[in-house]
């Protein structure tokens, strides 16, 4: 028996018990012949005390030899502390140690293992097992654990069956790049790792599983950005015999359950907004609704007054930043510089200050009268003390720039509180999007998403206008899940592949099994998938998913702790019937 209690467990009511504790040395203090040791484990901290008396010389010496992160087993008596610490749950007691065993010593760690650490990112990645000892990191993974368990509890309660779909599947050129796995038994052939279990979950619906879910690893061999990982986790779900409404209700229920049980937050009803409205009012298909600041279209009020920039613009958009009328000239110049940065790309910024006395002060006073500006202000519902910000240009870029500016103003005005959660269903996404590079339409969601029945004729005439039965769940401006009602008949699926530029042969070769399955009684079905890493980050109040993954990879897809990827033996390559062939990229 290596312990009778954990380091987070003992209370004043345990005084006079003989106990054994095991854990890590957090801190050693030495004063006046006494030694105190803070002993740490996952459950908390407990103070050990070593007192000098004639019989215990050796014990005291041993205690004095302890260094940070040594692992020890201490046996002793629970006593009441002279000076209590009401900041820690065990702060009323300490252990008067009578026996001490050093279970394992420790070298001096490469960085300090406390909430605030002096370790840089690379160092902490290399010694991830030490970084994980820090409470702030471990708590993130405990949150993740809680999220997983509560997700399963809810899904099980809703009669969903968790089914494990295969990891060794088939490579398909649609979507992102696949990771592939050479087959030894079938030389020259490869498996691929799933980008999602999409086709399998649809087959499970064809099988009559009715309600499926899985918390599952997925893989994408994409160029990594700061916040992407080559392997990531999804909550993957599918339901048969449902309408879109049934799905939205079911998963609104899941998200509410998670907020309720994990964060003790009663989430409000999830609003719905069409993709068209989201783009119109927020320039963004994942609007942050913690604050309003909707876009106003000012073309009618601004054009034809001699201001060439507006006159030549496709669109003039304004937002009203409540209470920002007091912004200084310096702040406004900074804002102007900010929108002109290449990442944002605006040509310039027009602002209008709504003065306390009802007058207006703008950068375009030369072209617009106070009355003109009042009309702008009225349209945007501005009050004295507010600031109007106006961008103009071609529609697509201007909406995007304004979306960025809106988020920045929300940030600056403190409107993006991490403890407030505003969920939103964005619905009626376009089915297809035009890709300039390949000069063809791509599926916005994936090729299995169904078009709205009434829009199907548009496929021939105006494919970009076809709306899909597709939806995203957005919280605070972050997309945490998305899904659709699927195509469930061969003819529509073939039509879809045709419009995505597949030949019949290609479609058959890659997805023939699915289209054939649709011919044996496929029920109407639809589903959703949540990005679990991101969902955890949102719950934890973080922007980055990395700390919510136990052993993440760096931006080159490398695990620097175990040093992978790495070369493999020639013998292995030979068995797999492959060889390395590095070509200089031209």
């Amino acid at each position: 028996m290596l312990r009778t209690h954990t380091c987070g467990e003992l209370r004043i009511s345990d005084v006079n018990k003989e106990v054994s504790l095991s854990g890590w040395v957090q801190r050693v203090r030495n004063k006046g012949g006494l030694i105190w040791v803070d002993l740490r484990d996952r459950y908390g901290l407990t103070q050990l005390i070593f007192e000098e008396d004639s019989s215990q010389k050796e014990l005291l010496q041993k205690a004095a030899s302890l260094g940070r992160e040594f692992v020890v087993l201490a046996h002793g008596l629970v006593i009441e502390r002279a000076s209590k610490n009401d900041k820690m749950p065990t702060g009323d007691i300490e252990i008067k140690v009578s026996q001490l065993e050093i279970l394992n010593p420790s070298k001096v760690p490469p960085f300090i293992i406390e909430d605030e650490t002096d370790g840089g990112e690379e160092l902490r990645m290399k010694y991830r097992y030490l970084d994980l000892r820090r409470n702030v990191i471990r708590e993130k993974l405990q949150l993740r654990h809680r999220m997983m368990q509560e997700t399963r509890k809810y899904m099980d309660g809703e009669n969903f069956i968790e089914v494990e779909t295969p990891v060794l599947i088939k490579s398909t050129p649609e979507g992102a790049r696949d990771f592939v796995v050479p087959s030894r038994v079938n030389p020259g052939e490869f498996y691929a790792l799933p980008q999602s279990p999409q086709t399998f979950k649809q087959l499970l619906m064809v099988s009559g599983f009715d309600r499926y879910f899985q918390i599952v690893k997925c893989f994408r061999d994409e160029d990594l950005r700061a916040d992407r990982q080559p392997e990531f986790t999804q909550i993957d779900c599918e339901m048969a015999f449902v309408t879109q409404e049934d799905i939205l209700n079911t998963f609104e229920g899941l998200v509410k359950h998670l907020f309720n049980t994990v964060k003790k937050v009663e989430l409000e009803e999830v609003k719905k907004m069409t993709y068209a409205d989201a783009m119109k009012f927020y320039g963004n298909d994942k609007p942050d609704l913690r604050f309003d600041m909707k876009f106003a279209e000012l073309n009618g009020l601004t054009q034809g007054k001699g201001f060439g920039i507006f006159d030549q613009a496709e669109i003039i958009l304004g937002i009203c930043a409540k209470g920002a009328g007091e912004y200084t000239r310096k702040q406004l110049d900074e804002l102007t510089d900010w929108v002109k940065r290449p990442q944002i790309g605006a040509k310039g910024l027009v602002y209008v200050k709504c003065n306390a006395d009802g007058t207006f002060k703008s950068t375009v006073d030369k072209f617009y009268s106070n009355e003109d500006l009042k009309a702008w202000a009225d349209l945007m519902g501005a009050q004295p003390g507010d600031l109007l910000l106006v961008l103009s240009g071609d529609e697509k870029s201007t909406r995007k720039q304004m979306s960025e500016l809106r988020l920045k103003m929300g940030e600056e005005l403190g409107l993006r509180d991490r403890n407030i959660f505003k969920p939103l269903w964005v619905v009626d996404f376009p089915l297809l999007e035009w890709d300039e590079e390949t000069q063809r339409y791509h599926a916005m969601h994936h090729p299995f998403t169904s078009p709205k029945k009434e829009d199907i004729p548009l496929l021939e005439t105006n494919p970009g206008e076809v709306r899909a039965n597709a939806y995203d769940l957005v919280i605070n401006g972050v997309e945490i899940g998305g899904g659709s009602i699927r195509i469930h008949d061969r003819a529509t699926q073939q039509l879809m592949f045709k419009h995505l530029g597949f030949t019949d042969e290609e479609a058959q070769k890659q997805f023939g099994f699915l289209m054939e399955a649709f011919e044996y009684g496929a029920p109407p079905h639809g589903g959703i998938a949540f990005g679990f890493d991101r969902l955890c980050a949102i719950f934890g109040g973080s922007d980055s998913i990395r700390d919510y993954i136990a052993f993440p990879k760096n931006n080159s897809g490398r695990d620097v702790m175990i040093d992978t990827p790495s070369t493999i033996a020639d013998e292995q390559l030979k068995e797999l019937s492959i060889q390395v062939n590095i070509q200089n990229k031209s």
Copy 2:
């Protein structure tokens, strides 16, 4: 809304309700102007009835057009059945249909979708999505779902944290063959898929996670036997600050919880047996304890009586088959043929019938008196009516042969009841086993298993005798889990690698990160992993794991439904800096 109720839900109390049901057509009967349709979904069967009346000609025609596996939506009135069927939960009612919509027709399925099917294995694998429609298969996956949820409930209740470890890890030559994944970003380098999360779970213990578990996919590129899959699922667990006893208790708790909640079986206390005893008494490290039939060693009683075969044998082993004394000559000849089959490999079989009158009849009467045979019978605790079966030869082969014979006799005598569960901990496994092929010792479990402290000196003198702190959980002769107390200090781990034939350099290159982690305060720890597919099969009363996997691969590691592995595009190979190089195996 595509249904108001499922097909398993309606009862007599629902009579007179207007309902909508969706599902698959199981059967259509047509008699005297009436049509009955059995409508099926995951939840059950409900009978639909279509009655001819003037206004409903079309409806009746539509019903008559239905074929097996059509998907329909039926709306109608719940009525009491004239002739009730008390074999089905919905057997008291039927739906008098007023509207029928065919949601999707079906081609005639390639095999019958009922519990008993006419489909062969290959056909059912190709149309796995149809095979999964059969209740008997779907129920196996529902059992699996239940097992997963209950496992998590127990583990969460015991304070284990579920942590997802990476799938893209590092290839190591120890153990089975790795599946590898070429890295595009790091040309010429590869990830490997995990054979188990062993090193990661140990690092989590170094991190202070204290109690970890995961239900996780693992991968082994081995030549496939009938009941192995390239990807399989483990319940993977690790605990810090524990003794072997703590681990056995915790996981005995898990197994009891599963039996209790999933099978409503109160499992008896799990017995313990040393590996040495298991081999001595059952010739097998996973004895089936549903029946006794222990081995008796007969050397002392049989040698030196002139029977050359026994005299020259290293060992003479007997078992007593209770009540098999009535075996006919034909049955005994068949048994003799059976032990001589190449798969068993015995040279011959000696038997002794214990007659009702207290005399004995054996195949070796020439060499042994009735008194001699009585001594054998006494040693084996045989009674009149029993049958003694004796094999001889070199010790290793004979124990193995006798183990097979014992299992066969258990089967023949009906002693291997699938509804009886006899769990056993086998403990004190050898640390190392000699491999003839490579002429060196291999880790019997894996290189991280700790030797028993008192046996460490034997590492230098007699490595094969060193016992490990390793244990297996066996149920009914099937190993369902195994684990060990791990090495947690660098020196012992290095010693272990040395004895496994690693150079210091090799050990450092492959497992340097783990040994370094041991230097920063690694706690004593140990764990266990359960083969989840097999555990489900045992609970379901099956020998084969394949039906407990939603989309299994065949014996060539191929998914014949989606047709993978398959060739990939040259462009993909180029991006991955590899090329295919198939060499004829010489």
